[in-house]
C-alpha cells in the first residue's frame, strides 16, 4: 500500500511558517492563484478571516471559500525596525489590520509603499493582494485602494 503523503502546504506561508498541517491548507493554493480567501459557514453564513475549517456556532465543518475583495479601512499599523529571529532580512517591514466590515484581515503592507509611516493614515482605504515574500514564500499584503 502506498504511504499516504502528509499535506504540509501551510509550510509555504510567510517568511517563516511555524506549522504545515491545517484543514485550511487550500488557502495556500488560492494564494498561488492570486486570491486571498476566507471561509463562510454554509449553515449560518458566518464569515471567518483568518479562514477556519469549523464553525463553533453551527457545530459543522461545512465551509465554503470566499474571496477577500474590494477595499477595507486601515485600522492600525506599525513599522518594525527590529525583528524576531528569522525575519531580520525583511527589515524594515510594516504590519497592519484592515477592516472589511464583516471581518478584519491582519497582514503586511506592500514594500512598494516606501515610507509607510509618512504615507499611511488610520482610516484610509486599503486592499489585500496575494504575492510572494522576499524568500519566495506565499503571502498577501496590503496596497492603497
Amino acid at each position: 500500500m502506498a504511504k499516504q503523503e502528509i499535506d504540509r502546504r501551510f509550510n509555504k506561508f510567510g517568511t517563516v511558517s511555524f506549522m504545515g498541517v491545517s484543514k485550511t491548507n487550500d488557502f495556500i493554493d488560492y494564494l498561488e492563484q492570486g486570491k486571498v480567501m476566507g471561509t463562510r459557514c454554509k449553515t449560518c453564513g458566518k464569515t471567518f478571516f483568518p479562514p477556519r475549517a469549523d464553525c463553533f456556532h453551527s457545530l459543522t465543518s461545512g465551509m465554503e471559500w470566499f474571496e477577500v475583495s474590494g477595499a477595507g479601512t486601515l485600522q492600525t499599523f506599525s513599522t518594525l525596525r527590529y525583528a524576531p529571529v528569522g525575519f531580520e532580512g525583511d527589515l524594515p517591514y510594516t504590519i497592519a489590520v484592515v477592516d472589511y466590515g464583516d471581518y478584519k484581515v491582519f497582514g503586511r503592507i506592500d514594500k512598494a509603499i516606501a515610507s509607510p509611516d509618512d504615507e499611511l493614515k488610520v482610516g484610509m482605504k486599503m486592499k489585500a493582494m496575494a504575492g510572494k515574500t522576499a524568500n519566495g514564500q506565499s503571502t498577501y499584503f496590503f496596497q492603497k485602494a
Partner: protein, 388 residues
C-alpha cells in the same frame, strides 16, 4: 461569606542574568515569603507554580520546584497564561481555599529569560500569538503593542511625548526599588538619543517605551479567613477577582485603542468587591510598554477613554496624585520576568496596604488593585485587595 487572605509575600531581585537555576531562583521568593509569613512549610497544603514555558529546558517545572522547596507530598499545580501566569495562579489559589479543598496555598511564579538572546525571546513571545496566521508575518510583542499605540494616537491625539512621561515616572520609582532591574532616572533628553531610548523599535514605540526582560521570582501565600487571622497580624484580603480572554488574532478584535480583557476583568473585579474605580487608593497595572499603562488607566476607569494622556501629564498617577500607579517602577523599570510579574505586583500592593512600602509608600491606602495581562491582551486578571 468567608474571606481569603494573603499572609505572606516575597520576591527575588529582578536581574538581567540570574546566576542559578529555576529551582534556586524559586527559592529566593519562597524564602522571602516564608520569612514574611513567619510560618513553617508544613502549613502549606498545596502549591501553584506559574511560569511561561520555552524559556528554559525544564518541562513541567511544578514538580521540580515543589521538591526543591520541601513541599512534597502536597499537591502542586502548574499554571500558564503567558505574562499573567502568577495572577492566574492567585485566582486558582483563591478558588482552592474558597472551596474548602485547601486552607493554605502558595503561589510561586518564576522566569529565567536571560538564557535566550533578545531576538530569540521575541520569537518565542511572538508565538504566544497566532502562530498559523500572524507569526509568519514576523510579529513580536512590541509590534503588537505598537499597533495599539498607533490606534490610540489616531483616535485621541496621544503623542510619543505622552508615552515618554510614563517611562519617566517609572524611572522615578525604579530608582527607589532595590529589587528593580533598571534603577536609573529617566529624563526627556534620553528619548532624544537615537541610539538609546529614542531608537525606534516598532513605530511609534521606541526602546524607552519597552520594559526590559529580566530573571526573577515571586511568591504569595494565601489562607482561609480563619487561618489568616490566626497566623497573620496584618492579613490583606482578596476582595475581588476578575478574569477574561480575547481573540488571539488581531483580526478578531473590535478595537485597538484599549484591551478588552482589561475592561472586562476590571468590571468583574469591581462588582465582586462592591467598589468603583474611585475607591482604589493605589494600583499596579501591566506596563510591559508605556502604551499598556496608558490603556490600563483608561480601561480600569481611572480616566475616561482617551484621558490617559491627561492623567500622566497632570502627574495624577504619581505617588502624591489622585491614583498612584506603578510606584514600584512597574514592569518598565522593575523588569518583567513573565511568570513572576503578577505575584510581584501583588506583593507591592500588599506591602502598600500594610504600610510597609518604605520610600514608595502611598499615604494610608485601604484598597489596592492589581491589573496583569497575558500576551497582547489575550488573558487578563484584575485583583482587588483590601485591609478590611
Amino acid at each position: 461569606m468567608s474571606k481569603v487572605g494573603i499572609i505572606g509575600v516575597g520576591q527575588s531581585s529582578f536581574v538581567r542574568s540570574y546566576p542559578g537555576s529555576i529551582r534556586e531562583l524559586a527559592f529566593e521568593a519562597y524564602s522571602d515569603a516564608m520569612r514574611d509569613a513567619q510560618i513553617t512549610n508544613d502549613l502549606i497544603d498545596a502549591t501553584v507554580i506559574c511560569s511561561s514555558p520555552e524559556y528554559d529546558k525544564q518541562r513541567s517545572p511544578a514538580g521540580v520546584v515543589a521538591e526543591y522547596l520541601g513541599l512534597n507530598p502536597q499537591p502542586t499545580f502548574y499554571v500558564e497564561t503567558l505574562c499573567s501566569s502568577s495572577s492566574t495562579g492567585l485566582k486558582l489559589a483563591y478558588s482552592l481555599v474558597k472551596s474548602g479543598l485547601h486552607s493554605c496555598v502558595m503561589v510561586l511564579g518564576f522566569q529565567i529569560m536571560s538564557q535566550l538572546t533578545s531576538a530569540e525571546s521575541q520569537e518565542r513571545m511572538g508565538r504566544g500569538a497566532d502562530i498559523q496566521w500572524e507569526s509568519p508575518f514576523g510579529t513580536m510583542m512590541p509590534a503588537y503593542y505598537a499597533l495599539h499605540a498607533q490606534a490610540h494616537f489616531a483616535k485621541y491625539g496621544t503623542t510619543p511625548d505622552d508615552l515618554a512621561l510614563i517611562r519617566i515616572k517609572s524611572g522615578t520609582y525604579g530608582q527607589l526599588n532595590e529589587r528593580a532591574v533598571f534603577r536609573k532616572e529617566v529624563t526627556p533628553d534620553m528619548f532624544a538619543d537615537k541610539d538609546g531610548f529614542g531608537s525606534p523599535v516598532s513605530s511609534p514605540l521606541r526602546v524607552g517605551d519597552c520594559c526590559a526582560n529580566a530573571d526573577g521570582s515571586s511568591c504569595i501565600i494565601v489562607a482561609s479567613e480563619e487561618k489568616a487571622k490566626a497566623l497573620c497580624k496584618k492579613p490583606v484580603w482578596i476582595l475581588g477577582i476578575g478574569s477574561a480572554s480575547a481573540p488571539v488574532n488581531m483580526a478578531g478584535r473590535d478595537q485597538y485603542s484599549g484591551l478588552l480583557v482589561g475592561i472586562e476583568s476590571g468590571k468583574q473585579a469591581y462588582k465582586m468587591a462592591g467598589i468603583t474605580p474611585k475607591h482604589v487608593d493605589v494600583a499596579e497595572v501591566h506596563d510591559c510598554f508605556t502604551i499598556a499603562e496608558m490603556m490600563a488607566t483608561e480601561n480600569l476607569g481611572f480616566a475616561e477613554p482617551g484621558g490617559g494622556a491627561e492623567l500622566i501629564r497632570a502627574k495624577e498617577t504619581y505617588k502624591e496624585g489622585s491614583i498612584p500607579v506603578n510606584v514600584d517602577g512597574g514592569l518598565l523599570s522593575k523588569g518583567h520576568p513573565i511568570g513572576a510579574t503578577g505575584g510581584s505586583q501583588v506583593r507591592t500592593i500588599v506591602l502598600q496596604l500594610r504600610g510597609e512600602a518604605g520610600a514608595i509608600q502611598v499615604k494610608d491606602p485601604t484598597i489596592g488593585l492589581v491589573h496583569n495581562i497575558g500576551g497582547v491582551g489575550l488573558y487578563g486578571n484584575v485583583t482587588i485587595l483590601g485591609r478590611e
